[in-house]
Every structure is written in structure tokens, then in C-alpha cells.
């Protein structure tokens, strides 16, 4: 009895202190909230500028899956953002209307679930009063956040490496509603196109045998995965005069047991097997298991080979593997290699991948836009400026289409394909970027 009483008291005090701690924050923030809600309407006047960027600070918020199955991507993004912010602040912050501001980054975890990402975005905007929200690297979460962007016209929303086509379609339908939402990345349909062209090119070169035009897919059960299959089929229709999909296997994200699928494929005997995984382990497992069971098809991988440690973990098994998109060439592009070193310098055991760079560049794009626009308020022109930007980076040019999606093309963001040749990545497509000849797999 007594024990219970004490326990109850203990718990009550605990919760009380918790609530107390937050009540404090409530008090403070609701104090400021009054004025900020007051100002948010009259923000257009330059006087209120100082208020939102008070104390020479501009606040950036990020909604990321820092826990759960997608944490790998989420944490990569967080590291990229932190790196960029640290760098910018070291170099004296960013310039806006003559005076310089320091950047402050708020990263929040949404566990990869859309409803939480909405809560978190609301929190960032309402409580931390951020002026830019990096709205997730998962399309589903980004779509959820996209839905509230018109409620906060003063805030700029920009995604990190979301590939779903839906953004384009939705935005195209109603551009002025999503005037402050941007997706600085290409669509999965662009992936697909690249896939189609690559196959066409390789079979033309006689590197692969695509006579039966049979394709099998293993993709993970995410929007990106599923829509990628559609995109690839469409592209093959376009560039190879059609194809037959002998099997389209959808596995849960992060799954690592592909024996059954591989055996199935052996019986179906496709020309090409396309695999799309974001987590590295799925890719490694698949590659090892194919090598183990043995196959006579051509493997074309999406996304995962770029993750750090793929070659190390698969060893000889990945030799000759074709993969795309080679979003960043950390191996043969000096600048990108230098960037990789910077990441490792700040996060020694980071799992380097393209998300680091995309998020890193995301910060620079936004800060440039702020400098150009002379405001950190989306409605006062930040959104417009950001959308109109033509941003030259170490990894291609970011230019937004009218559907607020970055253009994918040889002169903008290149989707190049690479092959593993003696344990090294070599770009083999498109021709004008290739510095190695594709060779037959196995």
C-alpha cells in the first residue's frame, strides 16, 4: 500500500515537473505567439522583418524520419543540413538587406509517418517560428505537409530528394495554392525514362541481351518503389518498343530475404531484373543472394549502390552491376569527393549517400534565395525568388519547372548510370558524361 502511494506521488511529481517545464515554454512561446500572429498578417512591412529574424537569426526547420525504418535517410539529411548550417555560420552567416544573420536549425522526428509529420511541421512553424521548413525526404510525409502549406503563406516549404510524381500533378492543378512549396528534385518518371534509355543503349551496344524484352522487378513497398515500376514500364514502351513484366515483387522496406523471389525469377528467366531499395541492407542481401544462387539475367539496381559501403559489403558479388541514378559521383568528381571528406570530418561514422549532398545544397539554395529576395518571408518574395532560381552546384543545375519541380536533363540535373568495374563505380551512360565503356555482366 505505502509503496504504491509513494510510487504514485513519484509519478505525479515526474509528470508535473514535465508539464511544468513545458508550461514554461508555453508561457514564453504563447507570449511571442501573440505578437507573431499579430505580425504575420502585416509581415510585408520591412519593420516586421527584424522581428521574424530577431537577434540576427534565421530559423530553418526540418521534418525528418529520424526514427523508424527510414531513419537511415532521415539522419543522412539531418547531417547534410547541419553541415551546411555550420559552414554558413562559420563564414559569418548569410546576408539579407545589408546585415548578416546566423542560421539556426531545428530538426524534428516524425517517425516516417505522414500524420506525425504534419504535427511536427505545425510545431516547427508555430512554436519555433521557423521561416523555412525542409519537409521530409519521404514523399508521403512531404505530401502530407504540402497539404498545410497554404495555411502558412509566410513559410517556405521545400522537400529533400522526394521523387514522387504526384507533387508535380497536384501543384500543376493548383499552382497558387502551393505557391510556397517546392520540390528541388526530379520525378520517378525521370528515373524511369533513364532506365528505358539505358536498356536501349546497352542492348544496342550488345552489352546486354534484351531480345525477349522480359523484365522482372523487386521494389520495396514505398511510393517511390511502386511508382518506379510504372515509370520503367512506360519508359520501356517508349524506348524499346514495349516489354513484358514477368514479375513485379513488392517487398516490405528493409526486408532481406530474397531467396524465394530469386528462385521464382530463375524459373521465369527474365532478360533484366530491376531492383529498387532505399536501405542499403536490402541491396546487399539481394546482391549476395543472387550471386549465391546464380543467375543468367542482367541486374540493374536503383538507388542503393550509392549508399556508403555497398561495394565493401558485397565484394565480388556486385561486379558488373549496372545502377542508376548516379546522383552524386563521390569517386571521380573532385568536388563531390571533397564534400564527402567534409561530411566524414564532421560525422566520422556517417553513412554517406546522395541525401547528404541534396540537403546540404538545399540550405545553400535557400540562403542564396534569402539574400537575393532580401527577405526570409515566403510571402514577401522568398518563395518567388526561390522558385525562379537557377542554381549552379557541384552536382548540376537546379532550375524549377512551373510545377515547382526541378528539371532533369543533361544540362540541369543529370541522371547518369554507372557500372561496378573492378570494384569501382564508372559512369557508363549517358554517352556525353560517360568515361567508361559498359561491359557485359558476368
Amino acid at each position: 500500500m505505502m509503496k504504491k502511494v509513494t510510487a504514485l506521488c513519484l509519478l505525479l511529481t515526474l509528470t508535473a515537473s514535465l508539464c511544468g517545464g513545458c508550461a514554461g515554454s508555453v508561457a514564453t512561446s504563447s507570449g511571442t505567439s501573440a505578437e507573431s500572429t499579430g505580425t504575420s498578417t502585416t509581415q510585408s512591412s520591412p519593420g516586421s522583418e527584424q522581428k521574424t529574424a530577431a537577434g540576427g537569426i534565421i530559423k530553418l526547420g526540418a521534418v525528418l524520419p529520424l526514427s523508424g525504418a527510414s531513419a537511415e535517410s532521415g539522419i543522412a539529411c539531418q547531417q547534410g543540413l547541419e553541415l551546411a548550417v555550420a559552414e554558413i555560420n562559420q563564414n559569418g552567416g548569410i546576408e539579407m538587406n545589408g546585415d548578416t544573420y546566423q542560421l539556426k536549425l531545428y530538426c524534428e522526428d516524425d517517425g516516417g509517418s505522414p500524420d506525425q509529420s504534419v504535427s511536427v511541421a505545425t510545431k516547427l512553424i508555430e512554436m519555433d517560428e521557423v521561416s523555412v521548413v525542409y519537409s521530409s525526404c519521404l514523399s508521403s510525409c512531404a505530401l502530407a505537409i504540402m497539404d498545410i502549406c497554404d495555411q502558412y503563406p509566410d513559410v517556405l516549404f521545400t522537400t529533400i530528394e522526394c521523387t514522387s510524381d504526384n507533387f508535380s500533378t497536384i501543384i500543376a492543378q493548383n499552382t497558387e495554392r502551393y505557391v510556397n512549396f517546392y520540390k528541388p528534385y526530379y520525378n520517378s518518371s525521370d528515373y524511369g525514362a533513364a532506365f528505358g534509355e539505358l536498356i536501349a543503349d546497352l542492348s544496342e551496344k550488345g552489352v546486354i541481351d534484351f531480345t525477349n524484352k522480359t523484365v522482372a522487378y523487386i521494389v520495396e513497398d514505398t511510393d517511390a518503389g511502386r511508382s518506379c515500376v510504372k515509370a520503367c514500364e512506360a519508359a520501356l514502351e517508349k524506348f524499346c518498343g514495349g516489354s513484358t513484366t514477368v514479375a513485379a515483387e513488392v517487398v516490405t522496406q528493409g526486408s532481406t530475404d530474397f531467396y524465394s523471389q530469386i528462385n521464382k525469377f530463375k524459373a521465369l528467366n527474365p532478360d533484366v531484373v530491376m531492383t529498387f531499395f532505399v536501405p542499403l541492407n536490402s541491396g546487399v542481401a539481394y546482391t549476395k543472394q543472387v550471386d549465391e544462387i546464380g543467375s543468367d539475367w542482367v541486374d540493374i539496381a536503383f538507388v542503393y549502390p550509392l549508399k556508403a559501403g555497398f561495394v565493401e559489403q558485397t565484394g565480388a558479388a556486385c561486379e558488373g552491376l549496372f545502377w542508376l541514378p548516379m546522383q552524386v559521383d563521390f569517386w571521380n568528381n573532385e568536388e563531390c569527393a571533397a564534400f564527402a571528406d567534409k561530411v566524414y570530418e564532421m560525422f566520422p561514422n556517417a553513412g554517406l549517400n546522395a541525401m547528404h549532398l541534396s540537403s546540404y545544397l538545399g540550405v545553400y539554395m535557400v540562403s542564396d534565395a534569402i539574400t537575393q529576395a532580401g527577405t526570409n518571408n515566403a510571402r514577401d518574395g522568398l518563395a518567388k525568388t526561390y522558385g525562379a532560381m537557377d542554381y549552379q552546384t557541384i552536382n548540376g543545375r537546379y532550375v524549377f519547372k512551373e510545377d515547382h519541380t526541378a528539371i532533369a536533363s543533361p544540362e540541369h540535373l543529370v541522371i547518369s548510370a554507372a557500372q561496378v568495374q573492378n570494384g569501382e563505380y564508372k559512369v557508363v551512360w549517358p554517352a556525353n558524361f560517360a568515361y567508361a565503356e559498359p561491359v557485359a555482366q558476368k
Binding site: 528493409g254 531467396y259 524465394s260 559501403g309 559489403q313
Partner: protein, 293 residues
Amino acid sequence: MNLSYWIEMIMSGVVTGTCYAMIGAGLSLIWGTLKMVNLAHGEYYMLGSYFLWTLLTVGNMPLIPAIIISIVGVVIFAAAVHFAAIRPLLRKPGWNMSPWILTLGLQILLQNLALKIWGELYRNVPYFWNTVFKPWNMFTMSGQRIIILTSTAVIILALMTVIKKTRLGRAIIATSQDGEYAMMMGINIKQIYFITYTISAGLAAVAGILLCPVYSVNPWMGATVQTKGLVVCILGGLGNIEGAIIAGILMGIVESIAVSAIGSEWRDAIAYIFLLGVLYMKPSGLFGKKKGV
């Protein structure tokens, strides 16, 4: 669809099944004696693999000692958990949901601790025995899979002999059948609770260690396996260890056939439907005793 195809299918099913079997057997054992469902069971599986990974890569130890140490480590951890958290809840006669929710909390805790300690990256353990066999050119068999199958078989046999033949085994069965009178036979059931809990944690750890080279290591690897483990130990008849083991293998095979016949996205659905079908025909599971509890 020739013979070798089916052999391959069955083989891959069996390999997956062994994992389910070990987890399921552990859960079944715990259910039998402690009359609780351990929702943190998958996390012991996860810990097992992580310990091995750490010892191999960070501590760069030789394989065998690494394996032994990691199993022992998990067992010790489980023992600590048992004393700290589980035992206080078992004091009350009769059981309710509170042990479940406790283990649920444990699950969240361990997953996020793992994330904190080992990071978000998916870790990968090299194959123990990196060769490939082609018996009669019928099907391929990697050394790792042979190791998995043989050692699982050995462990399961050992477990069964312990349960069936030894004094301890009799005590465990007695406790699970009638705790009160087991005590009157001179059995210290608290001790039995403790032993069964640690044994099943050990089983989970072994499963994790054997399979982590094939499936790689991450903080969330336990959750999915555990759900299947639960399904399996219900399918085999709750508290029936042989049942759980057979059901595990069976479930693995069913899944891999489901993949080949229908498609991966329906794999789990088929597994669940299979269970429901069995329960519909035999409400106490495949090998469950008909008891109106």
C-alpha cells in the same frame, strides 16, 4: 517449374522457417511457464546480432568466441531484465495484461537504445562459411545456409532432449501444466520462470546470430520477426514447443510458396490467412491440447 525449382523453394522456406521456429519456441516456452507473452522477444534477436557485429568488427575477435560471448551477453541481459522488471509483476497470482505492456515498453526502449548506440546504419556481418555447394546440380546451397540449418537442428534437438529427458525439463513441463502442485513436488517455480526466460532469450539470440549474415543488422529487425514468432507459436498451439518449431518451418515454406505462386506483396497476408484458416478448423492450433481455458 521442375523439381530443383521446388527444392530451392522449400529450402529458402526452411531457412526462413528456422528463424521463426526459434523465436516461436522461445515465446511458447515463456507462455507455457510464465503465462505471459514477451513482446520484447524480437529485441533479444536484435541484440544477439548486434553483439556479434560489434565483437567481430569493432572488437575484431575470432568468430567462435564472439558467438559464445554474444549469446552469453544476451542471456545475462535477459536475466537482468527478468529480475528488474518481470519478476515484480509476476508476484500477483493470476496474470493480466501488465506484463505485456511492460515488455512493450521494453521493446520501444531497446529499439531506440540500439539506434542510439549502434546508429541508424544497416550493419552487415560476413558469412561464417563463404562457399556454395551444388548437390547433384539440383539446387544451390551456401555454406551459411548449411550452418543455419545444421546448428538450428542441433539446438532444437538439444532443447527437446532437455525438456523431455532431464530433471529440469520435467520441472519446466510440470510448472507449465500445474504450477501450484509443481511447487508441492518441491519445484521452485520462481527459479523455473527465471531459467525458461533466459533460455528463450538465448534461443532468440542464437537465431539472430545465425541469420544476421544473411539478413543484415538494424535496430528494427526484431519487430517483424517477432510478429511472425507470435503467429507461429499460436499456429503450433500455445505452450507447445515442438508444435511451435514445426509450425515455424511450415510457415516459412508456406510463405516462400506464396511468393512463387502469388507474389511478394501478399506473402504476409497469405501467412496470416493460413493461421486464421487453421484456427478456424482447430481453435487450439495445429498441435494444441483442446483445453477450454
